[in-house]
């Protein structure tokens, strides 16, 4: 059932989905390699969930096509469903069933072969560290454990592709870190992971990212590529004697795109870092503001995210 190594795990070509007049997904094309952890970012309503639902065979595309694990999502949804695991932001487990009953249920509906069932159950129990608590009611487990159990259940049938829809929302930071360790392990075993998130630190864990906005992919690349390009901008970090005075002084100056307070300093987005440094310093000093620090810095994912979306909004 696994796709040949040479074919990408997920291929999306000119995918469009309309609901009446509303275009939820607009001409999206991308490929995800086998074993890759592919992050899907974007504000709510950007079209991430719709795209994932199409890829899971839950929705038919309006135009374009997509394959998952080599199977066409529109024409072979049954085969697609057998090749994927899906875990959503809601816990997706039955709270009134015990850990073991949940595993047995998913093992049943995923049609795990009889001779593999015990193995896979042991695997899921180990993955979620639940072997001792297999008879506990799932509803009584702490969030982080439930999350791992849901993940374990989603991969009982050893799917080559795994979709995680905001898998760590509502989970504490340590559990989130553990969860990502698991995702890395799975990726190393060759499982392709397609994950949506709105945690910027999690976005940095992904091998590659796509940023979706208003139904379209507006940026695609590795986290470091995205940060380097910053959508054609660079970032200056300033520490000055008067934050608000500095903001007023720089506002609207040529070459300056955006100014934001960041901690005790300012983040100034400029077209070209080296060309902007001198005029910025001169302007501030002319306004009687003492510049203590002025450096080019690497953007965080949050800067990238905000910068790209603001650029899109200016275009619109």
């Amino acid at each position: 059932m696994n796709a040949p190594v040479s074919t990408p795990a997920v291929v999306i070509r000119s995918l469009t989905k309309r609901f009446g007049n509303f275009v939820a997904v607009n001409d999206v094309s991308l490929e995800v390699k086998r074993g890759e952890i592919f992050g899907f970012l974007g504000p709510n309503g950007a079209g991430k969930s719709t795209t994932i639902r199409i890829l899971c065979g839950l929705l038919a595309p309006s135009e374009g096509d997509a394959t998952v694990a080599g199977f066409d999502v529109a024409h072979e949804p049954e085969r697609v469903k057998r090749s994927i695991g899906y875990m959503s932001q809601k816990f997706s487990l039955y709270d009134d069933l015990t850990v073991e009953e949940n595993i047995d249920f998913f093992s049943g509906i995923y049609s795990v072969p009889r001779d593999r069932r015990e193995d896979r159950k042991a695997f899921a129990l180990e993955l979620s560290a639940m072997a001792e608590r297999r008879n506990s009611l799932t509803g009584l487990l702490p969030g982080g454990f439930k999350q791992r159990l849901a993940l374990g259940c989603a991969i009982l049938h050893e799917p080559p592709v795994l979709f995680l829809d905001e898998p760590t929302s509502g989970v504490d930071p340590i559990a989130r870190r553990d969860f990502w360790d698991l995702i890395y392990q799975l990726s190393e075993q060759g499982i392709t992971i397609f994950v949506t998130t709105h945690y910027m630190d999690e976005a940095e864990y992904c091998h590659r990212l796509a940023l979706m906005y208003r139904g379209a992919v507006i940026a695609l690349g590795t986290p470091s590529e995205l940060k380097r390009d910053l959508g054609g901008f660079a970032l200056l970090h300033l520490e000055v004697s008067d934050l608000l005075g500095a903001m007023d002084a720089l506002e609207g100056q040529p070459g300056i795109e955006d100014i934001a307070v960041f901690g005790s300093g300012l983040h100034v987005r400029v077209k070209n870092a080296e060309q902007a440094k001198l005029p910025v310093r001169e302007k501030l000093e002319a306004s009687g503001i003492c510049v203590e620090k002025l450096d080019r810095i690497d953007a965080s994912m949050e800067d990238v995210f905000v910068g790209l979306i603001e650029a899109e909004e200016r275009k619109a």
Partner: protein, 380 residues
């Protein structure tokens, strides 16, 4: 193409839900018993031992003989013999008596003179059904007494032994004691099965949506048909258990005779239950939240099976429009079949039209429900 394993996994999960949730367990198993006991004991349509008062104005041998006739009838319980209208008025207003017999002061004089004595019967008509039955029974007692007097007078006049011109020898078939519980209990089984099936089922899909699990289930190889069949299998088992409980209680706690074939009874229950479960699923497919599904389920199962099925209120007495509506109420056919099997002991040669109609109903509702459900699951 339907996988037995996936269907079984679904059924097993559904069972666990029912047994883990005290509310649904109570709904599934306790409510039928409570309904059966409550209705079985409380809902008696028999009119017996009607509380009666007699105002004997005359106080003669003849009037006392009439009172004795009422005392001897199992339909009347003479609470008191009074000497004015005042206590009668008070007792009827307080609901202590239902009927009062007033024997006039010229009762024996009229009898002895060969005239017609006039009795007054006062009835509390606020429960019209019971009142008219009580009047009929009173007329019966009086007619018997009247006939007895007639014979005695004829005898006294030396007309020789008289014969009674027409004598009624009535024999009641199937429910020879005319016990209303004998037809209430089989009817009640239909009501209970319908309500339980519709309620349990109508909640089930709405619940998956509300918990947010439906999307996950749909992303797995589980097909909508398997999901539906799995859930139905679990509820079917619960419904069948309820049917067994109801039949056993009816037979042994209420002494309702079970004359027909158990196999045929099981077949009728099977077909009816299937249709009711499908009805619940259809509601489930149309309503996405549990509260709405519950309300619609209750109203569309309880009311028709209680009011329009011929369970208590006879369909022949309904207005033509309402009668027409009863043709689409499945319990109508089921109740005929149940009464036939329980009381008459009749078999398939007579009951096949009911079973056929029930199967037809089940098949149609199943087709509509799975179509709606499929549309909803696939498009959303």
């Amino acid at each position: 193409m339907i996988s037995l394993r996936r269907t079984r996994a679904m059924a097993r999960k559904e069972f666990l839900h029912i047994f883990r949730d005290p509310r649904s367990l109570v709904m599934a198993l306790a409510i039928p018993v409570i309904m059966l006991l409550l209705f079985g004991y409380a809902l008696s349509l028999d009119v017996e031992r009607v509380p009666t008062m007699v105002y004997d104005v005359e106080r003669s041998v003849q009037s006392r003989e009439l009172i004795a006739a009422f005392r001897g009838s199992r339909y009347f319980e003479v609470a008191d013999v009074v000497s004015s209208y005042v206590p009668i008025d008070r007792a009827i207003n307080r609901g202590e008596i239902l009927i009062a017999i007033v024997i006039p002061s010229d009762y024996s004089r009229q009898l002895l003179r060969g005239g017609t004595a006039k009795l007054q019967v006062l009835v509390d008509g606020s429960d019209s059904n019971t009142a008219s039955l009580a009047i009929a029974y009173a007329q019966g007692v009086i007619a018997t007494q009247s006939a007895r007097l007639q014979l005695r007078f004829a005898d006294a006049r030396g007309a020789g032994p008289l014969r009674v011109p027409v004598d009624v020898q009535s024999r009641v078939w199937y429910n020879s004691d005319l016990k209303s519980k004998n037809f209430i209990i089989p009817g009640l089984i239909a009501v209970i099965l319908q309500v339980i099936a519709a309620l349990l089922t109508s909640l089930t899909i709405a619940r998956e949506w509300e918990l947010g699990n439906m999307e996950l289930l749909l992303s797995t190889p589980l097909r909508p048909t398997e999901l539906v069949l799995g859930k139905m299998a679990a509820f079917f088992a619960i419904g069948a258990a309820d049917a067994v409980i109801a039949v056993l209680l009816g037979r042994f706690a209420f002494g309702v005779p079970l004359r027909g074939s158990l196999l045929l009874l099981a077949l009728a229950v099977f077909v009816f239950l299937f249709g009711s479960l499908c009805w619940g699923l259809l509601i489930s497919a149309l309503a996405r939240n549990q509260l709405l599904a519950y309300q619609v389920g209750l109203i569309t199962s309880f009311l028709p099976s209680f009011l329009l099925s011929g369970f208590i209120y006879s369909i022949e007495n309904m207005p033509a429009v309402v009668q027409a509506v009863t043709y689409i109420v499945p319990s109508r056919y089921f109740i005929v079949a149940l009464k036939g099997i329980f009381l008459k002991g009749i078999g398939l040669p007579l009951l096949w039209p009911q079973l056929l109609l029930l199967s037809l109903y089940a098949a149609i509702v199943f087709a509509v429900a799975s179509k709606r459900l499929n549309q909803k699951l696939v498009s959303k």
